[in-house]
Every structure is written in C-alpha cells, then in structure tokens.
Amino acid sequence: MVLGMPPVGLRTNREFISAPTEQAIQSAQVFINRLPEGCLVFRMALSQSGEINFFHGNDDDLFQILIDAEGTVSYYGVVDGKEVGDSNLPPENLPYTKLLSFVDRNK
C-alpha cells in the first residue's frame, strides 16, 4: 500500500515520478472514512505525478475521483442519466450520496 509513503520526487530524463503529497494522503483518508458502506468496493491507483485516483464501477460506466497534490478532490460520473462532477473540492464536500446512488444503480 502506498498511502503513508513519504513524498518523493525525482526526475529522470523526461520521466517525472512523485509520491502523493501529505495533503493528498490526508484527503484520501478523509474520503475513504466518509464513504458510505455501500461504496467500499473501488479500485485505487496512483498516477505518476502522485495523484490518487479512485474508480467505482466498470470501464463502460465509471465514477472517477481524483485527488491532486493540494489535496483537493475532483470527480465525474453519470448518475441516473445525468452528468455529475465538480473540480477542486475539499474532500468533506464531495456528494457522497450521489456516489452511493451510482453504486446502488450498478448493483
């Protein structure tokens, strides 16, 4: 598990690799702790730049959550036929009920 790793940044040639920042890790912890019980099945993946990604659903119907280096959260998905999404929110302000609706619909 990468959460909790100390931030590391290095640049090799044109390859940039960074671990998540402390702010990103804290936001991810807030996000996970606030997830409704029905939303605990997800895929988490780190980007090369240290962004933390959460994916709910499958490739054809995906709810994406991205936590950037500043610890702000952006999300996008389609719930009940309507696009939902926003950029650069504190993790406390994520619409967890919409995520739950997305997950429930896909059960």
Binding site: V2, T12, N13, R14, E15, F16, I17, A19, A45, L46, S47, Q48, S49, G50, E51, N53, F55, D59, L62, Q64, L66, D68, A69, S74, Y75, Y76, E83, G85, D86, S87, N88
Partner: protein, 170 residues
C-alpha cells in the same frame, strides 16, 4: 536527454502526424503502486486511466514522440538507460524493459471535443536537444479537472492498444 532546445517555439503538431508513447514493464515494482511500470490494463489492452494524470496534461505535459522523428532503436536505448538507472537505484536487476508502444494520429486526439465544441487536448511539438521529435499532450487552458476526467477515457481510447515496439519503424 533533458533541456528544451534553445529557441524552440511551441507549435502544434500537424494533425496528420502520428505520435507514440513508450510503455515499459519490469520484473519487480520499481516505484509507486504494485503494478508499476506495467501501464497497460490486461483486460482491455489499453493504457490504464491513472497513467493519464491531470498534472501531466495540465502542467508538465504528457510526453510522446513524433513517430516520423523517432525510431525503435532510440526507444530501445531509452529503455536500457532506464533499466540501468533503476537497477542501480533498487540495488538489483529490475529488468526494466520496453513492453510496447501506443501510436495515435494527432487528429484523433484533437477530435476529442468538449460540450462547447472546442478541443479538449492539443499536441504540442516540444523538441529537446537530443530528442527533436519530443512532443506533449496538454489540455487547453480552460479545461477543468472535472472535464479532464470526463474526457480522459476518450484520450486513452485515442491512444489505442499497445503494439509491439518495432511498430515505431513500420
């Protein structure tokens, strides 16, 4: 490899050109999460979405090579260079190697448009001193993170399935 060539202006790559993105594999995890650097989803053969990072397309530039100015030999040399560095960093043989290449037509990337009809991504020529074909995929300035997430799967699809590295020269 390294610095941007002096006096080089950023210009759009011609829509008719193809760009390629190298994909690597390693015997053991090198950095980051468990699978890295295995960047391809084995179920789809496509790039994993997390490989398309917001910070890359917004700030740093998602590095690609213009196919007509690049070669399989250069790609192999790049992989060997990375293998040497990463094996040294890890203190063991990580077998970091070239797994394949994604090749895409620039116009297919430019064809991804937002609801306002404007392109989401552009491909800029960003030559380096020893890599004249270096280019970067970036989002246009007005694109938000939410919009990036919406269109990220489209960019992944435009980059297509991984091909054998020799396809660079084909």
């Amino acid at each position: 490899m390294g610095d941007v060539a002096e006096g080089a202006a950023e210009t759009l790559v011609d829509p008719g050109e193809e760009i390629c993105r190298l994909c690597f594999s390693a015997l053991i995890p090198v950095f980051r999460s468990e699978g890295y650097p295995n960047q391809i989803d084995p179920d789809t053969g496509l790039l994993r979405l997390e490989e398309l990072a917001w910070d890359d397309v917004k700030t740093r530039g998602f590095s690609v090579q213009r196919r007509q100015l690049y070669s399989h030999a250069e790609a192999v040399a790049e992989a060997q260079s990375r293998d040497s560095k990463k094996s040294q960093q890890k203190g063991c043989d990580v077998r970091y190697q070239l797994a394949g290449v994604l090749i895409a037509l620039v116009k297919n990337i430019s064809a991804i448009v937002a609801d306002d009809g404007e392109p989401v991504f552009r491909v800029l020529a960003t030559p380096l001193k020893d890599l004249p074909g270096h280019a970067e995929i970036r989002v246009l300035g007005h694109i938000t993170t939410k919009q990036f997430l919406k269109y990220r799967p489209n960019l992944r699809d435009a980059l297509g399935s991984m091909r054998v590295p020799e396809a660079i020269d084909a």
